[in-house]
Every structure is written in C-alpha cells, then in structure tokens.
C-alpha cells in the first residue's frame, strides 16, 4: 500500500438530523481510497448517499464520525475557513447545474477561485484552458448566453485553473444530451490522462460511468461493490441487481 491516495474516507458516517431521533443515515461507515491520477465514478440508486459521499470527500460537509483525507490532509480537524483554503488549492468542482455566477463573464467565472485566493490570473494560461475546453473566443460571454454544454465546459475550465489535485463532479452530464455529455466526459478523461489529475464523479448514467477507471456502487449509505475497467452494459447490469431500474 505505497500508492499515494488522492482521496481517502475511513469509516465515514454522515447522519442528517439528530442521531437516533429520526435522523437519516446518509453514509454508514464508508471506507474508500482513490489513488492519484484515477478516474472514479460513484453510482447508486436515488437516496443511496452518492452526493453525500461527494460532499464528505470534498470537504463541503462535515462528517458525523470517521475521517476523510484529501492527499495527506485530514479534513475533520479543519474549520470552515481552512476547509475553504484547502478546496481553493487542491479541489475543483463541476456541478450538475448552477455552476456559474450569472453576473460574471466566462473569463471572470473561470478566474474566480484565483481572485478569491488573491492571486493574479495568468492570461495566457486562461486562454490555454479556454482552448482546451473548446471555448476559445467565448471569454466575454455571460453564462446566460451559453448552452448547457458550454456552461459545463466553463465549469471544467474553472475547476482546472488552480491545477487542483482532485476534480469532483456531481452529475456533470446530468442535464446534457448524449453527444454533449460524451464531449464533457472526454474532457474529464483528458484531465486524468494528460493532466495527471484525479477525478471523482457522481453519476446515475452507466454510459458516463463507463468513462471511469473504477466504479464504486453505493446502496443505503454503504459501499456495496466496485468494478474496474467498466463498460456501460456491465454497469447497467450491476445497477439492475442493486434494484435501481427495477
């Protein structure tokens, strides 16, 4: 076990509401280690705890018990501001929707994490990233002027600008058509293959999951299964067993 992990959860439990008094157990003693430079998809039926898994792994939410790490930093001991600084440096996010600040142009949205960190934006680097996500020439557009796929590209560009160790995606293709979805997934794949970054993506789409190296299956807040080198058919098959498409 000398492989450095990018994201690690150790017996993480998350309970919403009060323990024992009608509280909802969203994660139940989940342990997982995602190595550097890997692409992991997290799957499971609705209510299985996928999104909570992501929140706890990314430091967006405090865990009820257990510990989680990003790289070698333990998240449980950090306060809000320290967590924010950590996310700023080491983590990027792509959400399903409402990824962008409507008031800001594409350029400013992408540069937002840098600006919040009080760092200058390297214009050449920004242009390079825009080109990489296929948005060259759209720098001055506002989110409302872009299609859904283009908005997701901006979100990916923003997630990449700080050169984070891990990019978290919460159903990043959930609101897109098949063709656009494939392009976005290819971009994420590219982050892993050429950028050496780690991508963790929550999805319910077997086709999307097939782009990952590993698929983790969650049911009722527990990790029930994992699959290496997934294909869409095998993932769909496994999901059926989990009762997702029953």
């Amino acid at each position: 076990m000398t492989v450095r992990t990018a994201v690690r959860l150790d017996a993480v439990t998350k309970i919403y509401g009060r323990r024992g008094r009608g509280g909802v157990v969203a994660l139940d003693a989940v342990t997982a280690a995602l190595p550097h430079g890997s692409f992991t998809a997290v799957m499971g039926p609705s209510g299985s705890g996928k999104t909570t898994f992501l929140h706890c792994a990314a430091g967006l939410d405090h865990v009820t018990s257990g510990t989680s790490w990003i790289g070698d930093t333990e998240l449980s001991g950090l306060n809000e501001t320290q967590l924010t600084r950590l996310r700023r440096r080491r983590v990027g996010f792509v959400f399903q929707s409402f990824n962008l600040v409507p008031a800001l142009t594409v350029r400013h949205n992408i540069a937002l994490p840098l600006r919040l960190a009080g760092r200058r934006t390297d214009r050449r680097r920004l242009d390079g990233i825009l080109e990489r996500v296929g948005l060259a020439g759209k720098a001055s557009a506002r989110p409302a002027e872009l299609s859904g796929g283009q908005q997701q590209r901006v979100a990916i560009a923003r997630a990449l600008i700080t050169r984070p160790d891990v990019v978290f995606g919460d159903e990043p293709t959930g609101a897109l058509d098949t063709v656009t979805a494939r392009e976005i997934l290819a971009l994420l794949r590219d982050c892993v293959d050429t950028g050496g970054q780690t991508v963790v993506m929550v999805t319910h789409d077997p086709v999307a999951a097939a782009h990952a190296d590993t698929v983790l299956f969650l049911a009722d807040g527990r990790l029930t299964d994992r699959m290496e080198a997934p294909t869409a058919d095998r993932v769909a098959d496994r999901m059926t067993h989990l009762g997702a498409w029953a």
């Binding site: 967006l60 399903q96 008031a103």
Partner: protein
C-alpha cells in the same frame, strides 16, 4: 472583491433596487433633518430693530446652574421664556465708560392697534427711534402723552394718516391715541414687526418696569471702533447680569422666541433624523436579508468554489457600500429641496419663526452620505451574518434548502429585544414631560419592531397557523397560500416587519398626540366651573375688563388667567398658570388633593401631582423658582392638584406671575354667574373682547394641541412616508422573485386568477398579522406614555382613525404584491 461586487450589482440591479430606494430615502431624510439641525445651530437671526446700533447691552437670557460631579463642576445654561430686563443703573454704568458717545435706552412692550394683528406689534419710546433708525416720513414726532408715531407698514395696513385717532391696546386698559407721524426705516417698512412709538413718559408708564430698560443701544464717540467699544462696555459690566452683543449677536436679543425655536429645531431635527436612520437600518437590513436569501445558491456556489465565510461577508458589505454610495449621493441631493420644503412648512405652522433664516450649506448632505454608508454597512453586516454561514453543499443540490427553524442565536437576540422593549416601556411610564417622553416612544416602538424582525419566522408561522383554517376555506388559492406561508415563513417575516413598523409607528405618532390632547381637554373641560370665558382678539384681556365684570350684578367670581413657563434653579422647565385667588372655587376646579387654593397668596404656589411626586412636595414645603424674566423666587406650596395637563404644572397668583411676563394681560377671564348679555354690555367700551361659554377654555386647549400635533405629524410624517416606501419595497421585492414559482403553478394547471387570489390571500394574512402586532406594540407604548404623561394608563386610540391606518397598510400590502405579481405572471408558464 470590489470589482466583483460592482459586477454583481450591475447584473442584479433589480435585487438591489429595494435597498437602493430605501437608502435613497434615508439619505434625503437625513439631509433634510440635518438642514433643520444646522439652522437650529447656526441659523442667523437678523436684527431689524437694532440695525443701526453697533453695540447692544441686554440682560442675560439664560438661567445658569452649576452641577458638581465629584471634582468636576458642570456648567449648564437654559434659555428663559420672557425678556430679562436690565437692572436699574446699568445705563449710568455704560454711560461712564470712556469712548461711549451715546446711550439710548430701549423699552419694548406689547402695543397693538385694535383690529390689527397683535402678534409682534411692539411699543417703544420715540427717543429710541435712532436704534433702527426710524425717521418721521410724514407728520411729526409724538409730543403729548396721547400722541403716537406708527411705522409705515402698520399705517398702510390700518389705513391711518397723521391726525387720525386710534385705540391702542398695550399693557393696561385700551386707550385712544392720536397718530402724529408715520415713520419708516432706511430699508423701508419693518417686515418682522409693527412699531408703535409713544412719548418717553407714556412708554415708561406702559412698559411697567420702573427704572429698568429692555436693552441699551450704545453708540461710540468719534474715533472709537465698535469692537473696542464693546470690549470696554463688557469690562465695565463684568459681574452684572448685563451682556454685550454686536453684529449677528443682536438678532437673538431682539427675537428671543427665535432663539428658543433654535433649540426646538435642534431636538426635532435630531429626533426625526435619528429615528429615520434607525428605521433605515431595520428595513434595509430586511431588504438585504431578502436579497441574500434570493441569491443563496450563488453565495453557496461562491463558498464551494473557494470563498471563505469572511469573503462572503466582505462581498455583501462592499455591495452594500456601493449601493449606499449611489443612494447616498442621489438622496443627499434630493434632500436639499426637501429641507427647503420642510422649513417652509414649519414656518407656516409657526414652529419656526420667520426671523430665523434657513442655513444652506454643504454640511447636511455631506453628513448624510457617511450616515447612509454606515446604515447600509450595518444593515449588510447584520444580514450577512446569516448569508455567510450558508453551507457550500447547498450549491450542489437542486433543492432550495430552506431552513425552517429559528436559530438559537436569533431567538435569544429576539427575546433580548423584547426584554429591552419592556425596560423602555417601564422607563417611559416614568417620564412626565413631552420632550423627554417623545423620543423614548419612538425608540420603544423601534426596539419592539426589531424583536418582531428577529422572531418574525416564528410569528409568521404562528399567524398562518391561526389564520390557516379560514384560509383553507378557499380550496385552491387559500390552500396554496397557507402551505406557502408555512414553508416560507422567513420570507413572510421579512415583509411583516416593515408593515408592523408602519402600523405601530403611525399609531404611536398619531395617538400619542390624541392621548395628550384628550387628557388635557378632558381635564380642562372637567376643571372649568365658570359659566363664561372672556377672551380677546388683541394681546389679551385688560385689567379694566375684569374690574367691570366684577361689578356686574349676579357675578359670583371673576378669575384672570395668564400662562407662562418657569424654571427651577436646577433648570427643569414647568408650565405655569396665574389665577386670581379670590373666588377661584367658583370658576376653577383643578382637582385639589391636598391643601387649598384659597391660600394662594403672592408667595404661594399650587403644584400638580406630577410635580409633587417627582420633587417630593407637600403643602407647606418650599419651592425655588426662576421666573421667565430671570427673577428668582422661593414660594410656599399651598396645594397639590390632579389636573396638571389641563392647568399646567404649577399655579400661582395672577398678579405675581403677570408681573414677570412680557405680556401681563390675561389670556382669558373666567366668570361665574350672571348672563352673557349683561357681561357683553359691561364690556361694551372695551374693544376686541368676546364672551364665550365656559367650555371655551377646553376648546382653546384643543386648538393649541392640534397645532402642536400638526408639527409633530409633519416631522414624523417623513419617517412614516419612508417606512411606507420601505414596506412597499420589501413586498414588491419578495413577490417579483417568485416568477419561477408562479410559472410552475401555471404549468401544473393553476389559473392566473387562482395564483393572483393566492397572492391576495397571502398579502391579507401578512397585513392582518402586521396589524395585530403593530396595534399591540402601539398600545403598549401608548399605555406607558399615557401613564407617565397623564397619570392614568388611558391611551386614546381613536377606533376610526386606527382602522383607517390599518386599512391603508392593508391596501399598501395588496397593491405592492398585486402589481409585481401580475408582472411576474406575464412570463409564459413554459419558462
């Protein structure tokens, strides 16, 4: 961060329009109040009468009091209500000063031509005409004691020419004089006053202060400068109560009333502006909180993408500062014409004398801008506390993530505000003077409204729980409204607060006046036993009238009544009435609870229960006073009475008080017994007098109270208008934001009419909640106010007027939601 704030503002103009408008109004209000305040502080009172007099010597118009606090002595001075006369011998002292060319003694006393406006019509000796200077333009100077010279303006108004005979009402009985001359000044007829000049002997007799002068005009000998002269005279007069005035200092000597109006302007400007700013913080914090709630997801995204809570707070603070800057600049400009308007209205109402010139300077707008910025910033900080705590995870989820509970901190703060309000209520019920109580009433209302703002979500949920049953009678819209309200109690709380404030503040402003007015009127009506009241159109009822009335067969008692104010050596101010003690039992019943008014001699004083309680007085005790003209006296308490509001804090013997008033004539004369016709006949040769029934005293009280109330309404009216704008604002904001919700309702088959009805029901429930809360706050405040001011917990809430206030608030709420609601519904349901 500033750039980011600017971009958000540009993109979300609509969201900040509410705060902008509220801050703009606040800035205008503060500018206008600042202008009032500055006029009070620095307003120039131009001299008219002493225009040609380089140095004016006058009595000290202040009572002084030294207070020892530990090692420090604090020196306090308060203005006197009447003119302070110069002691005998002052003229000689001044005349002996080297460099003095001439000393011109001046007498000023009321003297009005019968049928002419008695206000500011003053008598003087012709020898002092040089002070202005008045020069005879037509005719000649008065030679005999029956001669007068009048100013050209007065001659024009009265249609008099030299040789005409006219009746003059001065300090004694009216008398007929011959106009020998018409005088004018180098600047034309005087604008602020009418002048009647008598011979020196006649003026002295009418002025009634033997050996004393009102002021001395001092002219330098050749080669002596005015400043130098003033210094020398001041040196010679050191240790005497006389004061030396030059330049702009002469105006206040001539118009002491204007000088007192300054103080009123300062306190009024401060109270209105201060209340306005507090209201602004409350409503702007509300609009910011609403804005923050509407952009929860954006803020959550920022937090997720890497903004620390502090950065979110700073962002909100800077946005607020930018909004405040724009609103402050525009509002300060808008405040300038408002200030002019306010000054004109106050002048028209008589609250500000015309002699006090409004000050136009850049200070009020310059002060309004930082005040607005501070308001915006404080409001933003208050509302940002919550916004900055948004969990970043909210951005990832589609659910709006509405927290339903009230956080513990908010609950504690809300309960603390309630407790603070209770303390203020207790304080208020112990305050016995209007200037002290009025600001506390506003503060109490505001603090209780802060409590409503903090506990709003709980109150909103409680209100909809109570009103939910009737709401659900309406199957679709009512059902929706009830459920919406339960889920969005925080949004409702945001709109309930300004409406509650509107109802409570309006009620308090209006009904604190009626509470006082009703109590005073009631006390006056109950306390006047006399059958008749004799009043005058001129300066007052002359002593001869009372004499004639006493001789009318059937008259049981005649009481001359004068009013004034006195101070204690400790500078407390009391209203005082002077009454003829003989036969007072037949004309007046102030509700004596201890002692007896029949013992009211020249050295006696009767005190109201309020005064007796606060100073611990009982019959037999001594009470030290300073009369309005600065004369100190120690009087013995002979009685304590209940009806202080109707008859003043103190009651003295008529002769004693009248001697210390500028105008010694009776305000009214009360008569018990006989018939009106007989009284009228007896007064036939005294012009300008009228016999009315005994209830007239109460009517006069009511009229005076109404004038008072109008001034209060005018000032607080601005704050109320501001509160109304803020309420509309908040309601419109919260409705306009619901386009998506309405579109969804339309998509699932709700008709436009049903959506609009749902909105109407919601607004009605909100208005009803605000009406209940506002009325409760208003009643609590008024009860405390009334038990302090009138001695009984009896607030006069006029039901009709209060219903009108509630109806107006409800109408405002309906309109403010219906219009943006319709606009929001215009979007096609598919979007």
């Amino acid at each position: 961060m500033l750039g980011y704030a600017l971009q958000t503002l540009r993109a979300r103009k609509a969201a900040f329009a509410g705060a902008f408008l509220a801050l703009l109004c606040a800035a205008a209000l503060v500018t206008a109040c600042g202008a009032l305040l500055e006029t009070g502080l620095r307003g120039e009172i131009r001299t008219e009468r002493y225009a040609a007099t380089p140095v004016v010597v006058a009595g000290d118009q202040n009572v002084h009091h030294e207070e020892r606090k530990g090692d420090k002595t604090k020196h306090k001075a308060k203005p006197l209500a009447e003119r302070v006369w110069l002691p005998e011998g002052t003229a000689q002292l001044v005349a002996d000063v080297p460099g003095v060319g001439a000393v011109v003694p001046e007498l000023t006393f009321p003297a009005a031509l019968v049928g002419q406006d008695p206000e500011n019509s003053l008598g003087h000796a012709w020898s002092s005409a040089a002070l202005t200077p008045f020069r005879v333009e037509e005719g000649g100077a008065p030679r005999a004691d029956g001669d007068i010279v009048i100013d050209r303006g007065l001659a024009g108004r009265a249609g008099l020419a030299p040789g005409d005979r006219v009746t003059v009402q001065s300090t004694g009985d009216p008398a007929v004089y011959t106009v020998t001359g018409i005088a004018t000044t180098p600047r034309g007829a005087p604008a602020e006053q009418s002048a009647v000049f008598f011979t020196d002997a006649e003026a002295r007799r009418l002025a009634g202060h033997p050996g004393q002068d009102t002021v001395l005009g001092v002219f330098p000998a050749d080669g002596v400068g005015a400043g130098q002269l003033a210094d020398r005279v001041a040196e010679a007069l050191a240790g005497t109560p006389a004061r030396v005035h030059t330049g702009d200092g002469r105006g206040p000597v001539e118009f002491p009333a204007a000088e007192q109006a300054r103080v009123r302007l300062i306190s009024m400007g401060g109270a209105i502006g201060g209340t306005g700013l507090l209201v602004a913080v409350l409503v702007v914090a509300g609009t910011f909180a609403l804005t923050a709630q509407q952009r929860r997801r954006e803020l959550a995204l920022l937090r997720a993408v890497a903004a620390t809570p502090r950065q979110v707070r700073r962002l909100i603070g800077r946005e607020a500062l930018l909004v405040g800057l724009a609103a402050g600049l525009l509002g300060a400009l808008a405040g300038l014409p408002l200030a002019g308007l306010l000054h004109d209205r106050f002048t028209a109402l008589g609250a500000v004398p015309e002699t006090l010139a409004p000050v136009r300077s850049p200070f009020p707008p310059a002060a309004a801008l930082p005040a607005t910025l501070l308001t915006a910033w404080v409001a933003a900080r208050v509302s940002a506390r919550r916004a900055a705590r948004i969990r970043p995870a909210v951005a990832l989820t589609e659910a709006a993530g509405i927290r339903r509970g009230v956080p513990l901190g908010r609950l504690i703060a809300g309960l603390a505000a309630v407790a603070g309000g209770a303390v203020l209520l207790a304080v208020l019920s112990g305050l016995r003077t209007e200037p002290a109580a009025t600001p506390v009433t506003y503060l109490t209302v505001l603090l209780l409204c802060v409590a409503v703002a903090l506990l709003g979500p709980l109150l909103a949920r409680a209100a909809f729980a109570v009103l939910g049953a009737p709401l659900r009678l309406s199957r679709v819209p009512g059902h929706l409204a009830a459920h919406n309200a339960r889920a969005h109690s925080r949004r409702l709380a945001a709109v309930i607060t300004p409406l509650t404030l509107l109802v409570a503040l309006t009620g308090t402003v209006v009904f604190s006046q009626t509470t006082l007015g009703d109590a005073a009127e009631r006390q006056a009506a109950d306390g006047v036993l006399a059958d008749w009241t004799v009043t005058s159109e001129g300066p007052g009822v002359p002593p001869g009238a009372a004499q004639r009335l006493r001789e009318v067969p059937g008259v049981a008692a005649v009481t001359e009544v004068v009013h004034g104010t006195v101070r204690t050596p400790g500078l407390d101010k009391y209203t005082v009435q002077g009454v003829t003690p003989d036969g007072i039992g037949a004309t007046l019943d102030p509700g004596v609870t201890a002692g007896s008014l029949s013992r009211l001699t020249a050295d006696g004083v009767a005190v109201s229960e309020q005064v007796a309680d606060s100073r611990g007085l009982a019959p037999g005790d001594e009470l030290a006073l300073v009369f309005g003209d600065g004369t100190p006296a120690t009087l013995t308490v002979v009685a304590v009475y209940e009806r202080g509001l109707g008859f003043g804090d103190l009651t003295l013997a008529h002769e004693r008080l009248a001697a210390h008033l500028d105008n010694p004539l009776a305000d009214s004369v009360l008569v018990a017994g006989a018939e009106a016709d007989r009284l009228t006949d007896a007064l036939a040769d005294l012009p300008g007098l009228a016999v009315r029934d005994g209830g007239h005293t109460a009517e006069v009280r009511a009229t005076r109270q109404a004038a008072n109330a109008e001034v209060a309404f005018l000032g607080m009216g601005l704050v109320l208008a501001f509160t109304a704008i803020a309420s509309v604002n908040t309601l419109a904001m919260s409705t306009a934001d619901r386009a998506a919700e309405f579109a969804l309702l339309r998509r699932i088959g709700t008709t436009r009419r049903q959506v609009l009805r749902m909105l109407r029901l919601e607004s009605l429930t909100v208005a009803a909640t605000a009406a209940v809360l506002g009325t409760a706050i208003c009643l609590a405040t008024l009860t405390a106010f009334s038990s302090g001011m009138t001695g009984e917990a009896a607030p006069s809430l006029v039901p009709g007027a209060h219903l009108a206030i509630l109806a107006a608030a409800a109408a405002l709420a309906m309109a403010a939601t219906a219009v943006p609601g319709r606009l929001a519904l215009r979007a096609a349901p598919a979007n």
